[in-house]
Symmetry: C2
Subunit: 291 residues, 2 copies
């Protein structure tokens, strides 16, 4: 068990048989919204911590990994992304990274729970520094309904920055949702969705590949990267292209980004898409079903 | 805190402010040797678990990540590795991976604590399947003394598969040890040492780069990879070349390995050496001190 002379936050992952814990200074806030229970903690070494229904969403210290890898690879894979839709992403960290790209003309964040964003503004102000950018729109409605109602071919990139596939986010992992995203993407449009742990969730990952292909996407590519505060510390994102194979990315643009990153660069992009043998075999098997 | 209706093994990382836990079926064994306390557990989802002095050494489920990344990259970076020295590595998983390379003629494992290997033979037999290979030699003596006594220029590759830089392994992270390794390496000789977490241990990582360069190595390269049961789930290994820069690896050989891997392949090798921006900057600063 954990030392009783320290205050701990622990997240147990039942199906993983593992838990991750952080030492706390104190709980700063907790509230139950119509959607979920959000808590904010001050940790000893990870800065602020936000949890939803007891699951770690992000910490000050290591959110850069997830946010950079959910935004820069997909934006540099699209030939010229102008209109970006973020589903979820209420902490605004993904929105900030998206708006670092000068070519982006519109970034709509559609988060179901406004309280996530209002608490991020207080406790993670650095992630919210682009919320007032004239290109940003913050909508607090159901992402499923948003994509069902959106106009055909409107978006260049859709980023699904969702919680795990239980509770409010469950529908976001389904073929029907992916199909609506496919419809509202323009030519060469790309969808990216956080896709859990390569160690723990290969069943989900292969199901996502299958659902994306069933929904009409022609190319599917998974990226992997470290994310210490999520189960196993090893995480992934999966990109799907509406109308063709995913064949590389804009390397020259990635090498000349007009902003700084902590994790992402050209080599990291290539490395993230160079999959471990066991993952590649599993995804090749899904692709073969559709050949 | 963790659920009290489950049995947990927890490893706290004091300086990290974090802990990692696994659910247990039972403790199978515990003994205190002249060097340390070794325990073996049966976990719910990770197979067997070996700990030393309360720190996770390996599990059945995910040791392939560490063992593949400690052996294949360095062996494929050397032009023709024939004599390999493993310091530590008592679980024999690294030895097994090394002996998968047909060109290796001698693999000496020098582990200070014979009980680690004897317990691995019982509880991790799959890792010990090459212990009877005629090219394998198992020595149970102090690695520091072994490298001090070894002949000049004898080895092609030295793999330091050590515990953390506290206790018996502390001297293995020092310049004096690295200097002896440098002396006993032949032309184009390579040293690789496990180098802890990029999230938690950048001070140690930069100190290792500095110690290796001070010890006379001309090129230093860090690889990063997931290792879920170690602190942060994100781990590294650092390769140092005796007499020149580390410039790529034998890609054609890596693409045609005569054995299967779960994690390692050509793309993974390139990805592991493509460092995140924050790491590259830190190592560039150390290299600049020696320019």
């Amino acid at each position: 068990m954990l030392s009783s002379d320290k205050k701990w936050f622990s997240e147990e992952c039942g199906e993983c048989g593992s838990a991750f814990s952080l030492t706390l200074k104190e709980k700063l806030h907790e509230e139950t919204t119509p959607f979920q229970t959000i808590a904010i903690y001050d940790t000893e070494t990870f800065g602020k911590l936000m949890t939803i229904d007891g699951f770690v969403m992000l910490t000050t210290r290591d959110n850069f990994l997830y946010h950079e890898m959910m935004s820069h690879p997909v934006l540099l894979t699209h030939p010229s992304p102008k209109r970006v839709l973020i589903i979820g992403g209420g902490d605004c960290g993904t929105l900030r990274e998206v708006l670092r790209h000068p070519g982006v003309e519109l970034a709509q964040q559609v988060e179901i729970d406004e309280r996530v964003t209002r608490l991020a503004e207080v406790h993670f102000p650095e992630l919210c520094e682009s919320n007032a950018d004239p290109r940003a729109e913050l909508h607090f409605v159901d992402g499923l309904k948003w994509v069902a109602d959106a106009a055909d071919g409107y978006y260049d990139v859709i980023i699904v920055d969702s919680t795990d596939p239980v509770g409010p986010a469950e529908g976001l992992f389904g073929e029907k949702f992916y199909r609506n995203c496919h419809r509202i993407l323009g030519a060469h449009g790309l969808l990216v969705h956080q896709s859990e742990s390569p160690l723990f969730h290969m069943k989900l990952l292969t199901a996502m590949h299958r659902a994306m292909r069933n929904a009409g996407y022609q190319g599917v590519q998974t990226l992997h990267y470290p994310q210490p505060v999520y189960p196993s510390g090893w995480w992934s994102a999966t990109i799907a292209r509406k109308d063709g194979q995913i064949d590389g990315f804009r390397e020259a643009a990635a090498a000349a980004l007009p902003f700084d990153t902590l994790y992402y660069n050209v080599g990291v992009h290539k490395g993230a898409t160079a999959l471990p043998t066991f993952m590649q075999k599993a995804f090749d098997a899904v692709a073969a079903e559709f050949a």
